[in-house]
Amino acid sequence: MSVSSDRIRILSVDDHPVVRGGIATLIATQPDMTLVAEASNGREAIEQFRRHRPDIGLVDLQMPDLNGLDAIVAIRAEFPDARLIVLTTYEGDVQALRALQAGARGYLLKNALYKELLDTIRAVHAGKKAISPEMSYELAEHAMDDALTTAEVDVLRLIAGGKANKEIADLLSVTEATVKGRVKNILSKLGADDRTHAAMIAVKRGIIDWR
């Protein structure tokens, strides 16, 4: 199997069959690449990685069952030198930061996939790190921002889930005053006008995953 060992062996993980189909078609046009497996959620991704040990894993972030970020953490824990590239629809800087901290080597926005996917696969396979240009602007934009605390992110997630302060307080076992304080911090850190705006920003910047 000398031919296949020369090729870059790829695992594609995305819950959308149309996207997986597109990736498979594109990779099939490349003589130096081969798609060895596909997965539609994080759990399958871990199994398939174990079974095939691909050179590159393309991992969507928003997936049911086990999301991409958790899958990346799990795979990197088991295979520390796994080379994983994140594919995502969103330009959220916070989400990108988390993925990179979890050990992703590449971060691609899906709207640039058709142009950048093949080059990024080769670059990451060669040991480089690769981030979509748009994404790096986004990261730079908020690099100096005051990051939200974990507690604030928890509150923000519940706000986006349509919960009122009182319910949030009950769910997090804190007082309503504490929640109000956190909401105030969130609004100021995100530069949001109100709760709805904060929730929108949170989704846009990938602070929370709304699935």
Binding site: G22, T25, L26, Q62, G161, N165, W210
Partner: protein, 456 residues
């Protein structure tokens, strides 16, 4: 929005507490005022009683004195015939007056006591005076006037003395009662002056807090709905249009790469991409439909479902099969639905209609909306080939399938029932209890609409 039962818990403990405090405050305040009124009524009763006893005693005294005077005058006249005639009249007057006083004492207010001496003196007058009259009459006939005058002097004064002592005593008691009553009434007055304003101010403050909390809660609820609605729309878009187009773009890119060397393969890739783009348009249309409804443009459920049917008919999958006819009927008077319920009913019914179009190969689809006093019922019937497993499992992106339809029905407090048999078509029935489905009154919905406009 976990379940329909969370409607009551959504009011929140603070609101409930404020409401309970308000009700208690009003009840206790009014109770205290009523208690003061009761105290005042008791005082009035006691005063009335004392005054009536006093007047009865006075009357007794006056009667006795005038009786004595008349007898003395008669004995001085030494006219036996006249005395005999007068004693008959005197006896009648005596018994009449006695009855009169007894009646007055019997009609005293409850819970008041009659001086026992008053009754005793009355009894003794009633018992002794007629006999006295008889005796005097007899003495007069025998012309023994000195004895008559002696008897009058010796037997009547003690009775008069007793009566005047009684009058003095009852008068004293009445004065005491009056003084006490005045003091008590002053206390009642002071208490009422404190209780009434305190209750009014307290109720006003709590009611204001309650009102403010209610307004805040309404705004919060609207915000929550709004936030989750936007999140849902974003998810719908992400699940359908964006993903599909990115997949299609990847295929286009693949076609561009292979086109120079392998045009036949490029053509195949492009054909596949075109199919997927067509599917994406269909799904996008559905998502846009949901968006349009979420914006509140389609208020009337029947109109919304009808126009969905028309669009689906117009874009029938291929020219070969005749498009299915969608027939929407409404039974009962259309009622205003809660916006969320309306949207979800539209989505569930819309999904059923789409399934009938795409999978059941139906010729005829009937949608029946029934506005009942007790519930809203929506039925979607088709004459297609029954439900396909893929639809049952609901694994197609952008579509929620039957489990999703059931879940959505439960979220809005309703129930979804499905009948399907191979070759005999499918019928789904969605029922939602009136309390969960209908907006209760027009003014309230107008208020809500105004609030939404103002706050969002």
């Amino acid at each position: 929005m976990k379940s329909a039962s969370s409607d009551t818990s959504a009011i929140g403990p603070r609101l409930t507490l404020a409401f309970v405090v308000l009700v208690l405050l009003i009840a206790v305040g009014n109770g205290l005022v009523l208690w003061q009124f009761q105290t005042a009524r008791l005082q009035t009763n006691r005063l009335t009683s004392a005054q009536q006893q006093l007047s009865a005693a006075f009357q007794l005294q006056v009667n006795l004195l005038s009786f004595h005077q008349t007898l003395r005058d008669l004995s001085d006249s030494t006219n036996a015939r006249r005395l005999s005639a007068e004693t008959v009249a005197l006896r009648k007057t005596l018994s009449d007056e006695g009855l009169h006083i007894k009646t007055a004492l019997a009609s005293l207010p409850a819970n008041t006591t009659v001086d026992p001496a008053l009754l005793a003196i009355m009894e003794s007058i009633q018992a002794t005076l007629p006999a006295q009259l008889e005796a005097i009459n007899a003495l007069a006939i025998s012309d023994d006037w000195p004895t008559i005058q002696r008897r009058l002097r010796s037997e009547l004064p003690p009775l008069e003395r007793q009566t005047s002592e009684l009058v003095a005593r009852i008068d004293l008691r009445a004065r005491e009662e009056l003084a006490q009553a005045q003091a008590r009434m002053r206390r009642v007055q002071n208490a009422v002056l404190i209780i009434v304003p305190a209750t009014a101010i307290g109720s006003f403050v709590v009611a204001a807090i309650l009102g403010w909390s209610v307004v805040r809660r309404i705004v919060e609820l609207r915000l929550e709905t709004r936030v989750s609605e936007r999140t849902r729309i974003a998810r719908d878009l992400h699940d359908t249009l964006l993903q599909s187009f990115q997949g299609v773009l990847l295929r286009f890119q693949a076609a561009v790469i292979v086109l120079p060397d392998r045009p036949a393969e490029a053509k195949q890739v492009l054909e596949h991409a075109i199919d997927e783009a067509a599917d994406a348009i269909t799904e996008g249309r559905d998502a846009v439909h949901n968006l349009r409804l979420a914006s509140g443009a389609a208020d009337d459920l029947a109109v919304a479902i009808g126009s969905l049917g028309k669009e689906l008919t117009a874009m029938s999958p291929d020219g070969t099969t005749a498009p299915a006819a969608v027939d929407v009927s409404v039974e009962g008077t259309a009622r205003n639905l809660h916006p969320l319920v309306r949207d979800e009913v539209y989505r569930i019914a819309g999904e059923a209609v789409r399934n009938a179009f795409r999978h059941a190969n139906a010729q005829r689809i009937e949608v029946e909306i029934r506005y009942d006093d007790r519930r809203l019922r929506v039925r979607v019937r088709d004459d297609g080939r029954g439900i396909q497993p893929a639809v049952l499992e609901g694994d197609r992106p952008g579509h929620f399938g039957l489990p999703g339809m059931r879940e959505r029905a439960e979220i809005i407090g309703g129930r979804l029932t499905v009948w399907s048999e191979g070759g005999l078509g499918t019928e789904i029935e969605l029922t939602i209890p009136a309390a969960a489905a209908y907006v209760r009154s027009r003014p309230r919905s107008a208020l809500f609409a105004g609030r939404t406009g103002a706050y969002l």
